[in-house]
C-alpha cells in the first residue's frame, strides 16, 4: 500500500492541538503504518518537503516566520487542514489584536512615542536588565494575528481548542484511504 505523506505544522498556538494529536494514543501506532510523517515538530526534518498529501496546521499567523511558512506549506501540500481554533479563528493568539489596533489609531502623528511606551512596558519597565529584542534571528510580529484562511486557501477546517482525538481520527482515517472526510456529521464540529 502506498503510504500517504503526512505533515504537521505548528504556527502561533500553544501546541495543545499537537498534544491532542498525540492522544490518538495507540491508534498512532496503526497510523504510523499507513502514513509517512514527512515534516513535524515531532520529527527532525528541517525543510518542508514537496509533494505532501495532507498537512495539519496548528496555530494562527502571528509573525513573519509563520507567514513565510504557510505560503510554503500551501504550495507544497494537496490537502491543507486548518487544525484547531487558533488556525480557524485566531482564537487566543488573536486576543492581542485590539491592542495593536489601538496603537495604530492612537499613534497618528506621534508614532515613536507610543511605540516606545508599549515596548517599554514589556522589555524595559518590567525588566531589571532592560533592552529591546532586535536581531535577525527573532521574526518581527505582524500587526494583526490572522487565521490561516485569511492568508492561503484552506481545504478542511477542524475546529476545537483543541479538537479532541476522536475528531482528529475522524478526519485522518478517510484521508489515509484517499477519501474526503465528511466533517459535517454529528459531533464533528465543535469550537472551544
Amino acid at each position: 500500500m502506498n503510504r500517504i505523506k503526512l505533515a504537521t505544522v505548528g504556527l502561533g498556538g500553544c501546541s495543545g492541538c499537537h498534544m491532542s494529536f498525540l492522544y490518538l494514543d495507540e491508534w498512532l501506532i496503526e497510523l504510523a503504518q499507513r502514513v509517512e510523517l514527512v515534516y513535524s515538530p515531532l520529527a527532525d526534518i528541517k525543510v518542508y518537503p514537496k509533494g505532501v498529501d495532507v498537512a495539519l496546521v496548528e496555530g494562527a499567523i502571528a509573525n513573519q516566520d509563520h507567514l513565510d511558512m504557510i505560503h510554503q506549506v500551501r504550495k507544497r501540500t494537496k490537502v491543507l487542514i486548518s487544525f484547531g481554533d487558533c488556525a480557524v479563528t485566531g482564537n487566543v493568539t488573536a486576543l492581542r489584536n485590539p491592542l495593536f489596533q489601538l496603537s495604530n489609531t492612537e499613534i497618528e502623528g506621534k508614532t515613536e512615542d507610543h511605540g516606545q511606551s508599549v515596548l517599554a512596558r514589556a522589555y524595559l519597565e518590567t525588566a531589571t536588565h532592560p533592552q529591546l529584542p532586535k536581531s535577525d534571528l527573532v521574526p518581527p510580529l505582524l500587526t494583526q494575528v490572522l487565521p490561516v484562511h485569511k492568508v492561503v486557501d484552506v481545504d478542511l477546517y477542524l475546529p476545537g481548542c483543541p479538537p479532541d482525538a476522536n475528531r482528529i481520527r475522524a478526519v485522518l482515517e478517510p484521508l489515509v484511504e484517499g477519501k474526503r472526510p465528511e466533517l459535517l456529521s454529528a459531533g464533528n464540529i465543535r469550537f472551544g
Binding site: C14, Y23, A62, H129, K134
Partner: protein, 489 residues
Amino acid sequence: MSKRIVIDPVTRIEGHAKISIYLDDQGEVYDARFHVTEFRGFEKFCEGRPFWEMPGITARVCGICPVSHLLASAKTGDQLLAVKIPPAAEKLRRLMNLGQIIQSHALSSFHLTSPDLLLGWESDPGKRNVFGLMDVDPGMVRSGIRLRQFGQQIIEQLGGRKIHPTWAVPGGVRSNLSTQKREEILSRLPEVKATVLSVLEQFKRLLEDFQEEAGVFGNFPSLFMGLITANGSWEHYSGLLRFVDSEGNIIADKLRASDYSDFIGEAVQSDSYLKSPYYKPFGYPKENQRNPPNSELDSELNNDGLYRVGPLARLNICDRIGTPLAEQELANFRQHGTVNSSFFYHYARLIEILTCVERIETMLDDLDLQSQHLRARADVNQLEAIGVSEAPRGTLFHHYQIDETGLLTQVNLIIATGQNNLAMNRAVAQIARHYIHGPNIPEPLLNRVEAGIRAFDPCLSCSTHAAGQMPLHIQLFNAEGLVIDQRYR
C-alpha cells in the same frame, strides 16, 4: 571570515526556537546561542479582563502543561478572594498536578528524547522520531504511550477533558473523583509502576553509553531553585522556595513566592523573545556577554545568578523525596552529591514519574477525594496576589493586580522554562564547542546541540507570554549578502 550556522527550527521540543553557532576563522566555535522566536502577549491582553477567566485563558498559554497554569491561576484567585479552600479541593488539585507531571514527563522522555538515545545520533534524521521508533521498538513506544495516557486519564477524569479543562477555579475545584473513576485509576497502577521501574533500569544501563554527552550537555555549576515542604521534602503544589548551590549548600531557604521580586530579576537579551530570570543577590551573569568558554565553566563556581529549575533542580534541593521506591532511586541519583549535568534531567524526570505514581497510589485511599465540599465562595477581598506551583518544567509564578470589581490591572507571569534560559544558552555553547571543529559539520553533531536543549524539555509556548508591541525589522542587503542598512519600528 567568521561564519554563522543557524539550526532552524530546533525540532522535537515544544514550541519555536533556533540555535545560532558562531565559528571563527579557524572554524572553532566562539559562541552559540539559543533563540526563542515566539511571542504571544498574554500579560498585556489579559489586562481589563475579570480574574475569574484567568485559569481558562492562561491554560491556553500551553497545551503541554495547561494544568500548571490552571493551578497557579486558581491559587492566585484563592488569595484574591482571601479564602482557604476546602481540604478536599487541595487534595484533588494535587492529584491532577501529579497526573500532569506524569504525562508531561512521559512526553519528553518517550516521544521527544528516546529517538536520540535508542536510535542513536547517527541514525537517519528522517526516521529519528517516535514514528520511526515504532518500527524498531514498538513495545517501548506502546508502554510510553500508555504511561502518558495514564497521567492524562487522571486529568480527564477530574476535569472532564484531556487538554484545557476549566476545572480549578478561584476558591476550589468544580468536581470530585467518583468512586468508579477512582477504581479505573487504581486498576492501572500496577502496569504503570512496572513500566516506570523497567524504563529506569533501561536508562541506567544506557547511561554507560552516554558518558561523553553527560560530561558536556550543560554540565556546569549553578544554583538550583524549587519548592520544598516545611520539613525539606520534595514538593509540587505549595510550600516555600529554596536555592542551593552546585555543591548542595543552601543559599537561601523558606523564601515566600510572594516576595519573588526581591530575589528574582528578569533580564532581556537582544536576540530572543524569552526573558532571562536570574538570582538577584548574585547578579546578572556576565551582563549578557558571550557564554563562558568551556575551560572557564568549572571556575565559574556559583559566582553568578544563573539558576536552574525543573526536575533536576527539584531533586537537587530536596532533603528527601518522600516515597519509598523513589527514595532509593534518589540515593542512586545523588551518589556523587549534587548533580550538575543537565543530561541528568532525563534521569530526574523518570524518578519524578515514579514518585508521582507512588503518591497517587497512597492518595487514592483518601475518602476526601469523594467529598462534596469543593469550593469556598467569596467576593474580591484583596487587590494583589501571587500564586505559585511546580510545573513539570519548574516553578511557575502568576502575579495579578485587580481593581475592586475584579478586573485585572496588571499581570506578570514567570514561567519555568524562562528560568532555564541562561542555562540553556550556556549548554548549547558548551556542546557546540566540544563537538564542532572546522566548517564541515555533519548533521549528527548539530543534533547533539539540539539534544542539549531537549534535556531541559523547554516549553516555548509557555515562555513567550510577555507583553507589548514588538518592533518591525527591515534589513537591506548588498550583493554579497551583507546588511547595509536596517530600521526598527
